[in-house]
Amino acid sequence: MAKLILTSKKAFVLFISITFLLVAQAIWWIALMAKLFDEKVKMVQELGAEKAYIDLIQQEEISRQIMIGMEGLFFLLLVGIGAWLIYRTLVKNEELQYAQQNFLMSVTHELKTPLASMKIYLDTLKSDKIPEEKKMTIIPRLKDDVNRLEKLVENILEAGRFEKSGYELHKDYFDFSNMINSDLDKLKNFATHQKLEIIRENFPENYIFYGDRFALSRAFEAIIENTLKYNDKDNILLKVSFKADKNNVYISISDNGIGLDKHNKERIFERFYRVGEVLNISKPGTGLGLFLCREIIKAHKGSIKVESDGIGMGVNFKIQLKVIKSHENNSLS
């Protein structure tokens, strides 16, 4: 779990103290009841009552004890459930706060890095010491920095909008194959020294889907970018498979990248979540891309999950999208 921060520490101490107090009081109460029972029987014995009367008193006391004991146990059970729920909320809150701190650090890094690069390039363009031909190589890189910033701002604004009013879709018919192909084509923009091989499996020439093209494109882009970012191999292999039936479209995107362990597999779609410690996070990002991706797919009444056999074993994103309005031109595979 994340390192405790001061406010949560206080909440945890308060929670443990109150739980301890409640349990201690319940135990004290039971002990007191047992003592009273003993005293009552003893008193009746001392008064020289008949054995039958003493037995009757004893029976009555035992029934009362059982009843009160059950009440006590029920009370303890309620306290236990309450304590567990509060504990779970506190841990969740703690994890969210930690993720938000990481998000802030990541965003600072992601905002300032292209800004730094742009400032360096602008200084370079102004400099008399730099030859003109070198300056000409800078322009595309400046544009690349602007694009990075634009994308980051878009993601943050999108996440903010989503928080406020959910994802608002603008649905229409569009060519799904064309959308995936153009998302894959954008991979060329990733300046990388790695070789990239893309295998398209069962891809129809065109497949008309009813949904928000812009949003879905953003979702697929986030997945594809992630598979590329977390791949250190010289030869990156990306396999995109397509399948559709009357009710659903199934897309599978798998790679030969660094893979995911069980813990990260469960969490990568959480908002602000990023794999690794923020100081060592090897790739740019804010922990919003896959979160938005899942929300977009959910808004299309679909689902997404990730499979991985562990570190070094690559990942496989499996996406299912519901066909809300089918199109007569589609041939089903």
């Binding site: 890095t113 360096i120 400099s127 730099i130 100081l279």
Partner: protein, 237 residues
């Protein structure tokens, strides 16, 4: 020609810096992954390291600590997006000589690099003669960064050497904390000039018989410090 090891994972920032550093007459070796830095550092004869902090693999703070552990006193300038005061202090305590936050002006970075080389030249002019100062059975060597006091020989950091050299050059005169900051760090934006006090504390532990009853490095209340030597015979620099 001075050689700079540039540790930066962002290709655009790195390219921009390489263009400018080379135009300013430096040779640049670029590493983009924290895991390759120590290996590269061991191979080359570098004069300065420009170190990003958030890196793939080992982070810049850990790398700087590792470099210092090898006994190297090479100047390290952090170039990072982390701009909080406590983050700057963390960087300087890790062994950094300077800290510049992104985005920055290239001219400012180049000036800081020049400043570091200038101060280094002041500390160790590289003359044939032994660059050592002796006083009352104590000594400090500005070439090897070693000092000898009542407790024996100790290794100093470059900053500690610079503080001592500045004080020694002004023996008997009061030096303010701001003067020390300006001379040793080269700028006034260091988190707090009280940090100087920590350096003085350590130097007193090395040179004084009783650090609480300071004889050589006196505190002048509200102003700064004064270096005084007792014996005059046999001193040389």
């Amino acid at each position: 020609m001075k050689t700079i090891l540039l540790v930066e994972d962002d290709p655009n920032v790195a390219d921009g810096l390489i263009i400018n550093l080379e135009a300013d007459g430096y040779q640049v070796v670029h590493v983009d992954n924290g895991n390759q830095v120590l290996n590269e550092f061991g191979k080359g004869n570098f004069d300065l390291v420009l170190m990003d902090i958030m890196l793939p693999g080992t982070d810049g703070l850990t790398l700087t600590k590792e470099i210092r552990k090898t006994g190297s006193v090479i100047p390290v300038i952090f170039i990072t997006a982390r701009d909080q005061t406590d983050q700057k202090v963390e960087g300087l305590l890790a062994g950094g000589d300077d800290y510049i936050t992104k985005p920055f002006d290239v001219s400012e970075l180049l000036a800081r690099i020049q400043g570091i080389f200038r101060r280094q030249a002041w500390l160790d002019p590289g003359e044939e003669t032994e660059n050592e100062y002796l006083f009352d059975g104590r000594s400090i060597n500005f070439t090897t960064y070693t000092a000898k006091g009542p407790g024996g020989e100790v290794q100093l950091t470059r900053k500690e050497c610079m503080v001592m050299k500045y004080l020694i050059e002004r023996t008997g005169k009061v030096v303010s904390r701001d003067q020390l900051l300006d001379a040793v760090w080269g700028y006034h934006t260091y988190p707090t000039n009280r940090t100087i006090d920590n350096f003085i504390l350590r130097l007193r532990k090395i040179f004084e018989d009783d650090p609480k009853q300071s004889v050589y490095i006196e505190t002048i209340r509200g102003v700064g410090y004064r270096f005084t030597k007792l014996a005059h015979d046999g001193d040389k620099q």
